[in-house]
């Protein structure tokens, strides 16, 4: 069965690829005004229908947090069917997610603090004029809805495009955003390339069932996720939004401090599991491949497995991309990982720190966004059990060296580079600090209409 593209919101299964986006946090002070806003927004939201070769100037999408669903006046009988993690909110899951010390909810940015985020309207632009058009559309919808809804905060983001480089980068300087799950739906997106599904047999890959990401379709176990939500869940997804501040100067200093004779770039590649241009360390341990990154859509950058490297002698067991998507690296083929995949739609914010520049203390990082059918089974397993803890990978207390801070244990946080002569790197520091966000529900367009009309009250 193919996903109903006309009802699914855009940028879920298939990314827009726009260079600009802004995350607008909208506050609902009165339920009827909130529903009026949804009614105004509904015809202006962007669905997942293919654009072909002519993209529109902008796109607008809507996600709703638990506090937003309550503010819209959903009855308790409906609210109680939402999953526990959405009802609890992301701040309540901080211990599991490793959001501790400076990243703990008590330190979050005021506008994104626990329980604050209600509605998130994602404005995407083909260019600056397109983004401004999306902003004007939201402003107009807010005006029509009246004074009891308001724009509270905006988080603007922009892709970092390196001159002459085929792939966009994140702030630490690594190519990013080109590794997404392959979906078992011919209309879902352009990601069905070798290495992006689940390992099958010796060389093949199986695309992932749409139900792993969109409610109302069979998942990898043949179950229909979101059935308890009824029509409200049809073509919906659950979305994680996290503002992650990146300490670029600190990361560069760490590389310089801990590099051996192989140099800081070699160390950076071990920590990430990819060279800066995206070449996977597992497939090319000694140096970036000269041509892979330049191929259309980096089609060979994901065609690799870890099953032949169980001891991490090619790619360290604790490298970031190996932890985040272990492929067949946990044994049993891909059986242990196929139900823990996410679609990432993050965008960098803040201006890049130029190479060689001293620390300017500027706020920069990633607005991390991911979509899945179950936040608890997908994002929280990856973040909580694979990145913020090492037990599942046989790494004890070793956490992800890039995105997770060290655990509060007596032992110094370290990163192990396995090999005939293993190398230990540490003590680790926190280079990525959570600044706030929320777990969100991204409904299908018919469900938005129902919420707007108060039909969910029936």
């Amino acid at each position: 069965m193919t996903v109903e593209q006309h009802d699914l919101q855009g940028n879920v299964l298939c990314g827009y690829g726009f260079p600009l986006a802004s995350f607008a946090c909208v506050r609902v002070r009165e339920a009827s005004a909130g529903r009026r806003l949804l009614a105004e927004l509904r015809p202006r939201l962007t669905d997942a229908t293919s654009w072909g070769s002519s993209p529109p100037p902008c796109a607008i999408n809507l996600s709703i947090g638990w506090q937003g669903l309550r503010a819209l006046g959903l009855p308790d009988a409906m609210l109680e069917h939402f999953p526990e993690e959405l009802r609890a909110g992301m701040a309540e899951r901080a211990d599991l997610l490793g959001d501790a010390d400076d990243a703990a909810p008590g330190h979050w940015q005021e506008e994104l603090e626990p329980g604050r985020v209600q509605l998130v309207v994602t404005l995407s632009g083909r260019d600056a004029a397109g983004l401004e058009q999306a902003r004007a559309t939201l402003r107009d919808a807010l005006e029509q809805a009246g004074p009891d809804v308001g724009l509270e905060h905006e988080e603007p983001t922009a892709v970092i495009a390196a001159p002459g480089e085929p792939l966009a980068r994140e702030h630490f300087g690594f190519a990013d955003g080109f590794a997404q799950p392959a979906i078992d739906d011919p209309r879902a997106g352009p990601y069905n390339k070798p290495g992006q599904g689940t390992p099958r047999g010796e060389r093949r890959w199986k695309p992932i069932a749409p139900g792993e990401f969109v409610l109302g379709y069979r998942d990898e176990d043949g179950i229909l996720p979101g059935a308890e939500l009824g029509p409200l869940g049809r073509n919906a997804t659950f979305t994680v939004l996290r503002k992650l501040e990146q300490d670029v100067a600190g990361f560069r200093a760490f590389l310089d401090e801990h590099a051996d004779e192989r140099g800081p770039e070699w160390l950076a590649s071990r920590l990430m599991g990819r060279w800066r241009d995206g070449t996977p360390v597992e497939a090319s341990p000694e140096a970036p491949h000269p041509s892979w990154a330049g191929e259309p859509r980096g089609r060979r950058l994901n065609n690799f497995r870890y099953g032949g490297d169980p001891d991490g002698h090619r790619c360290p067991l604790g490298a970031h991309v190996r932890r985040a998507n272990p492929r067949d690296g946990l044994g049993w083929g891909g059986t242990l990982t196929r139900r823990h995949r996410i679609i990432r739609r993050g965008m960098p914010y803040g201006s890049p720190l130029p190479d060689g520049a001293t620390d300017d203390r500027a706020d920069r990082g990633l607005m991390f966004v991911c979509h899945q059918a179950s936040i608890a089974r997908q994002f929280e397993v990856i973040q909580g059990l694979w990145l913020a803890d090492g037990d599942a990978l046989g790494l004890g207390d070793d956490t992800d060296p890039i995105v997770a801070g060290p655990r509060p244990t007596p032992a110094p946080g370290k990163f192990t580079i396995q090999g005939r002569e293993p190398r230990f790197v540490g003590p680790l520091r926190r280079f990525v600090t959570m600044r706030g966000g929320e777990y969100l529900f991204t409904p299908g367009l018919a469900a938005v209409q129902a919420l707007a009309g108060g039909a969910a009250r029936a």
Binding site: T409, P410, A411, P412, F424
Partner: protein, 170 residues
Amino acid sequence: MARELCVLTPILPDHREALAAGLAGLPEGEASPLARVPGTHFARWVLAPSLRPPMDPGRETAYLVFAVEFDHRNATAYLEDLCRRLPEEAGRVWRHCAGYPGAVDHLFVSWLLAHRVDPGFSIVAFPSATVAEIREALALRARLAAFALAAQRFPAERLRQAWREHVGAE
């Protein structure tokens, strides 16, 4: 060698919410009252909202499930230890169950054992090691990691000397 115990006690009518609130208010992890019983690998109280009692399968009843893996020589020894170390908390939890004897004492232990069920299958992370041995192994790993981080770039003679000192301190 870790042993296991699973106890199912029926919850009194109208007590389910009070019990759920009481359980939700208990601290978890190292701060849990159950952590005060040395030799506890893993212990949990779980509220099962509707099970069918074997004696009366037509009737659904809410049960409190208590499942634990421990190092004690048998279940009686474990429960007697539990009574000594968390009498107040145990009473506050199990008083919501039908047949609670009224005090956390030897009758209470007998009452729990009478409600014991065979779990059939249980998973213990380290079945052949005691909790004390596991904790010591973790501490040893932490000390070794600290040594490896500090000493990995030492020249051979200095590394040998540092290792001797480290082992000597162990």
